[in-house]
């Protein structure tokens, strides 16, 4: 039982009063910044870095980690209530979460998201404890060709998740892919669609696009609606998910947790892909997929579980390989360095108390977040009772400030307004902004990975098929792309055959 003792020592570290306190502080800050759109965990942690100088390494990382996964909880709230996804990984939550809120079931949506987040986070920590050393290598096996295949699969899923017409979804997704090409080319230094504007040199950021298309677009659209027909804000009926809700969502939570854990290990894009894949999976296996987009509880439970599980498993490459998987992990990497601890392959053996202290603190942090968020659900849903005349300008203001804080650039405020108008026009003409935003996020991943792969293969695309992981992923892509078409074809033929004998009688 020698292998267990460092794990138990880790619990002893967590239960020191000081560490408990900083864990609580971290998750509270995280939840608050999650609620504020724009201000992300990476920027917050960077700002709070000096605060950790005087702390012990384990205490400071416990707090910083708390900010990171706490933000995942908080981000759901604005997605559901205001249709404002704070991060790319909660875009799909908007579809059904906001639809539920409009039906007066905001409490149910937030409650199930909190329960899903808790379950996803906790499952992921258990898995991390048991298998971290074995799955860490998974992150290294994913090279550019694998990301190319994954991004392709993701973009295909984008088309399936959207509501409304397939053609309109494809048009929106194509526009998203086009927007992803803006900026200085990463491979040859050529400006693309920047119009000589330095603020566009690094391309567009996710935040102004999502906030404009979803948040501001929604506000503009609602203002017009209000002039036409006075629509009373939906009465908030049940605050808690009922037992039937829980039963309905439990499968989605389980599947979302597994997907989130696996995809979260991948550096870059893991969390977005996991929430998207979890949502697509639920919609695909649902008996009535048409419920999705109109307040299906699985459509909230699956992605919210997945993105929290992914947030937790993204610690695996950092703590066991010394590779930061995303921007927030990069800042935590920096924080560890300042503390005199170099994250790397030997971290677990050289600093077991740090590794297990941080990992075990996440159990506690998740419990704290669940305890905090459930009672707050009742409080937050009251936001919906605020009159639109007051709520709309406040939301618009928060959105604009949030967009500014990402890069401290006034240009981004202009972008939000631009995309807000675009979002309004899209909604009026029956386009769903979801595929646009998701395709935008995946577009740059697809392009850079594809071009990197071709450089590695010396221009020969056959290389994708000879690598096991990318080969399997491409096979999945074909399956997902071809299967529905084949099924309809089969269906039609069967219907035809059925009709032939009946015609003989």
């Amino acid at each position: 039982m020698d292998s267990l003792s460092p794990v138990l020592d880790g619990f002893a570290v967590v239960l020191e009063p000081k560490n408990l306190l900083y864990c609580l502080l971290g998750v509270v800050i995280g939840m608050l910044i999650g609620v504020l759109p724009g201000l992300g965990p990476a920027a917050t942690i960077a700002i709070l870095l000096p605060m950790t100088f005087g702390l012990e390494p384990v205490t400071s990382i416990i707090m910083l980690a708390g900010i990171f996964y706490g933000a995942q909880y908080g981000g759901t709230i604005t997605s559901v209530l205001l249709r404002l996804p704070g991060e790319a990984s909660s875009v799909v939550t908007v579809f059904d979460g906001h639809a539920m809120a409009r039906q007066g079931r905001a409490g149910t949506a937030l409650g199930i998201a909190a329960i899903g987040s808790f379950t996803g986070g906790t499952l992921s920590i258990v898995a991390l404890t048991l298998v971290a050393p074995f799955v860490a290598g998974f992150a290294l096996d994913f090279g550019p060709p694998e990301y190319t295949a994954l991004a392709l699969l993701g973009i295909l899923l984008v088309a399936t998740v959207s509501n409304g017409g397939k053609v309109k979804a494809l048009i929106a997704a194509a526009a998203g892919l086009l927007l992803a090409t803006v900026g200085r080319d990463d491979f040859i230094s050529v400006e693309r669609f920047t119009f000589g504007n330095l603020s566009l040199a690094d391309g567009l950021d996710f935040v102004p696009i999502a906030m404009g298309l979803f948040g501001l677009g929604e506000i503009l659209y609602n203002l017009e609606e209000r002039h036409r027909a006075t629509q009373a804000p939906a009465a908030v009926t049940d605050v808690w998910p009922s037992r039937a809700d829980l039963r309905q969502a439990s499968g989605a939570i389980g599947r979302g947790g597994v997907l989130g854990f696996l995809l979260g290990i991948l550096p870059g894009g893991g969390a977005v892909l996991s929430s998207l894949a979890a949502y697509a999976w639920e919609k695909r296996r649902a008996r009535h997929p048409e419920r999705f987009g109109h307040g299906a509880i699985e459509g909230v439970a699956a992605p919210e579980t997945a993105n929290n599980a992914a947030a937790t498993s993204s610690f695996i490459p950092l703590l066991s390989l010394g590779i930061p998987a995303n921007a927030t992990m990069a800042v935590i990497f920096g924080a560890l360095l300042i503390q005199g601890v170099t994250p790397g392959p030997q971290l677990v053996t050289e600093h077991p108390e740090l590794f297990w202290g941080v990992v075990n603190s996440m159990y506690l942090g998740n419990v704290l977040l669940l305890i905090m968020s459930l009672p707050l659900v009742g409080l937050f849903v009251r936001i919906l009772r605020v009159r639109p005349a007051i709520l709309a300008p406040i939301t618009a203001l928060i959105t604009l400030i949030g967009a500014y804080t990402v890069r401290n650039d006034v240009f981004d405020i202009g972008l939000v307004v631009f995309f807000g108008v675009l979002g309004y026009l899209m909604k009026k003409t029956g386009f769903d902004p979801g595929p646009l935003v998701l395709a935008f996020v995946l577009g740059s991943l697809l392009e850079t990975s594809l071009r990197r792969s071709l450089l590695l293969f010396d221009g020969n695309p056959a290389g994708f098929l000879t690598r096991p992981i990318s080969g399997v992923l491409l096979a999945c892509f074909l399956l997902v792309a071809v299967l529905p078409a084949a099924r309809t074809l089969l269906h039609r033929r069967r219907a035809h055959l059925d009709r032939v004998p009946s015609g003989n009688e």
Partner: protein
């Protein structure tokens, strides 16, 4: 010691001026009453990167000396070009500074169109900060331990760079051009992904900054081949420099604190004193050691000479070896 006295006298002056007196004091010129409010330090990279961490490591002790807050503001974009543009447009009063990356001044101009290039001579340099050396690392499975191994392998290789127009690209292009190795550059977005690609065997080799690669080198997950430093860095004493191996490829990342052109001399001196005090702090020295940074705390004139010389040298070298940093070839 001298700067502490200066700091104390500034505090006295501030205290006196707060009482409303001291108008006839000779110390009431702009330089010695500076700063009267918070100083902003722009960083052209995202929070959490090397440049950002350096800015934050300096901001705290500098603020203690200046007795006013020193805040770090990230304005990422165009390799730091966005922040440099903002700095150029800011008022030249010493309240807006920037941690300037040397590569923006002496490598990026070789890769981008002339009108996009940033000229460091259009700014005032407060002080040099530190240098970051590049190291070439190989995945152990390649069996490469020296440059000779790579040459003798007589096969085309792939190398990861941290981006187009970076020191990581320049140093490897120079090395492989001189060693006549058929090498393909694969640009990644920063040091961590480039290193990950080498760790996972996606590419044969990668050049990353020493601080980024150190833990993987120590763990034996990647093999250090050469550094591109002038002499062997104290942090990696057993790895030869490219120079020692017979190649002209001296490439470093260098950082400096920079102010807009025309900032008053007294203000610049006051700021330099504050940063020198920060450099002297043990905690900052430990930070340098942790990140494998070599101090280069020279004055503004020396730094400008260093950077201009680097730019001219690199321009000559890439012409000589027909290297196209824009990646279009």
């Amino acid at each position: 010691m001298r700067s502490r006295v200066l700091g104390a006298s500034v505090a006295t002056v501030l205290a006196l001026s707060a009482c409303g007196g001291n108008l006839d004091d000779s110390a009431s010129d702009a330089g010695s009453t500076f700063p009267e409010r918070a100083v902003r330090v722009l960083v052209g990279q995202d929070a959490g990167g090397s440049t950002d961490l350096i800015a934050r490591a300096l901001a705290e002790p500098a603020s203690a000396d200046l007795k006013k807050p020193v805040t770090v503001l990230n304005k990422a974009g165009a390799n730091g070009g966005v922040a440099a543009k903002e700095l150029a447009g800011a008022e030249a009063d010493g309240y807006t500074l920037m941690v300037f990356n040397g590569s923006l001044a002496y490598i990026t101009p070789l890769a981008v169109a002339a009108d996009e290039a940033v000229d460091i001579n259009g700014f005032e340099v407060v002080t040099g900060v530190s240098q970051d050396d590049y190291v070439l690392v190989a995945n152990p499975k390649t069996g490469f331990k020296t440059v000779k191994d790579i040459v003798d392998a007589k096969r085309p290789i792939t190398f990861a760079t941290t981006g187009v127009g970076t020191g990581s690209q320049l140093c490897q292009e120079l090395l492989f051009a001189q060693a006549s190795v058929d090498a393909t550059a694969v640009p990644f977005n920063g040091g961590a992904p480039a290193l990950t690609a080498a760790l996972g065997g996606q590419v044969d080799v990668a050049a990353v900054q020493l601080g980024e690669g150190q833990s993987q080198i120590k763990a034996g997950k990647v093999t250090p081949i050469v550094t591109f430093a002038a002499e062997r860095p104290a942090y990696l004493p057993d790895t030869p420099t490219a120079q020692e191996s017979g190649y002209t490829a001296l490439v470093q990342q260098s950082r400096a604190i920079v102010a807009p052109k025309g900032a008053p001399r007294e203000t610049l001196d006051r700021l330099r004193a504050a940063f020198q005090k920060a450099f002297a702090e043990q905690k900052y020295k430990d930070f340098n050691a942790q990140r494998s940074l070599t101090p280069n705390e020279v004055d503004g004139a020396t730094l400008l000479r260093q950077w201009n010389a680097s730019r001219d040298t690199y321009r000559g070298l890439i012409e000589k070896y027909k290297i196209d940093l824009s990646g279009k070839s």
